[in-house]
């Protein structure tokens, strides 16, 4: 089924036997059909590695904690967005590329587990099989069409295949798509008041749990300005204007650095379409500053440089 999995496990086993290796970050089977982040330190643990559509896709950020105060090498399993996320951390000088051993694997899309559970019952296992998914749920095996149950962000993924890896296994399952900005455009087409009402309705739900930030590979600051009491960038008050400031700030802080992994939106417990903010900025950056692919980390971020002949609207 996933023919490369054994090869991957062998490779990781070898990697963990090498001197100076601290950890390999991958996935292992969790309960209820989940695949959860796993931190392997011993070669024999490699046989527990798994990778299916149930794996969340948010491994990159763990590198920060794992690398702090240690000096060894860190292996990381990476699909397309995870590889971009790692590049992001490297570009932001949060981890040295030399310390990372990036192991690329193909992506078959990340499953929206809640949606699968809602239609198929309690999950036991989600596997990818060619272009289909095999889902074991409620005691039965189902052959499902991934496009029905894939996370929204995966449907127009521009980079399903991991780039800049040390080694990779398997072959691409999904082909790259171009980002679909139609939702952004639809929002833009609304009258200002309706657009405002839309966003306020989203922000009202915000709990300020900071999950969107915690999971974001572009949010790797040692201290987040939004946590600081002084200066009071974001007041402590939990009001709708303050939530709006929070989301405005978060989006602008990742503008030009977002890798479009979509994790911010995926983890939001109250369904705020956070990525719709990022997408708007990315599209504008692409258009305004002629950035080829706004999601691939570059040498200097688009807001950290300029051209004298940039568009002039402020005369």
């Amino acid at each position: 089924m996933t023919a490369w999995l054994d090869a991957l496990r062998d490779h990781v086993r070898e990697f963990l036997s090498e001197p100076g290796v601290d950890v390999f970050i991958g996935y292992r089977a969790g309960r209820r059909g989940r695949e959860v982040p796993a931190f392997l330190t011993r070669p024999e643990q490699a046989s527990g590695l798994v990778l299916g559509p149930a794996a969340s896709g948010a491994l990159a950020k763990y590198v920060l904690e794992e690398a702090a105060g240690t000096t060894g090498r860190l292996g990381v399993l990476a699909r397309g967005c995870e590889a971009l996320s790692l590049q992001r951390l490297v570009r932001d000088l949060r981890v040295e590329r030399e310390r990372l051993h990036v192991v690329g694997v193909p992506c078959a899309g990340v499953a929206d587990l809640a949606k699968l559970e809602a239609s198929l019952g309690a999950l036991e296992k989600v596997e990818s099989c060619g272009e289909r998914w095999l889902v074991t749920a409620g005691g039965n095996r189902h052959d499902v069409d991934p496009s029905q149950f894939m996370e929204e962000r995966c449907r127009d993924c521009a980079s399903p295949w991991p780039q800049q890896c040390n080694i990779s296994f398997g072959q691409a399952v999904m082909s790259p798509a171009s980002p679909d900005y139609s939702t952004v455009a639809a929002l833009e087409a609304l009258p200002a008041d309706e657009r405002y009402a839309f966003w306020i309705r989203q922000f009202e739900r915000c709990l300020r749990c900071f999950a969107c930030r915690q999971v974001c590979p572009a949010c790797s600051c040692v201290e987040c300005s939004l946590d600081l009491v002084d200066p009071p960038w974001l007041g402590r008050e939990i009001t709708v204007p303050a939530q709006a400031m929070f989301h405005y700030t978060r989006a602008l802080h990742v503008a030009g650095r977002c890798v479009d992994c979509g994790q911010c939106q995926k983890v939001c417990p109250v369904g705020i379409p956070v990525a719709l903010l990022n997408r708007k900025l990315a599209r504008d950056i692409q258009e305004l500053f002629d950035v080829q692919n706004p999601f691939v980390p570059g040498e200097i971020e688009p807001l950290g440089k300029f051209r004298a002949e940039d568009r002039e609207e402020f005369m």
Partner: protein, 144 residues
């Protein structure tokens, strides 16, 4: 500052760079050019110092409009600050609109130290535009 419906005048918070736009506003003063008492200036060294978060902060605290003013591109006292400002605000103006703020609430203008007249004109035009838009309620903090 609303003194009742009829006499409502907008409040504009203006971030002016010290070398050009603030000087331009000074020149408007020394030339005794009259413009509405709607604008209140915060002096910054350069338009490149203006963080887009300051803009939302002003709307939160009751500004009806925000003006960011700097040297003309190419004339920055620090040579490049306004180029960064231009990129930041090309993006931020669009982003604020995306969040539902009316297009006329945030203005960015290049006003040189010799353009006292332009400063006065921008304030007149902006005040008139904001009067048409009415008081800003979006993103505005209510009473505590």
């Amino acid at each position: 500052m609303s003194v009742g419906e009829q006499s409502w005048k907008p409040t504009i918070v203006a971030f002016c760079c010290n070398w050009c736009s603030y000087a331009g506003a000074d020149l408007a003063g020394t030339s005794r050019l009259q413009y509405p008492a709607t604008v209140r200036i915060i002096r910054v060294p350069c338009s490149g110092r203006v963080n887009p978060q300051f803009i939302v902060r002003a709307f939160q605290r009751g500004a009806d409009g925000v003006l960011v003013a700097g040297c003309h591109p190419g004339d920055c006292h620090y040579s490049t600050g306004n180029y960064y400002a231009r990129r930041r605000f090309l993006l931020a103006t669009r982003f604020l609109e995306y969040l539902g703020i009316e297009p006329g609430r945030l203005w960015v203008r290049w006003i040189s130290g010799s353009e006292g007249h332009k400063f006065a004109t921008v304030i007149k035009e902006m005040s008139a535009a904001l009067e048409r838009l009415g008081p800003n309620v979006k993103l505005r903090e209510g009473a505590l």
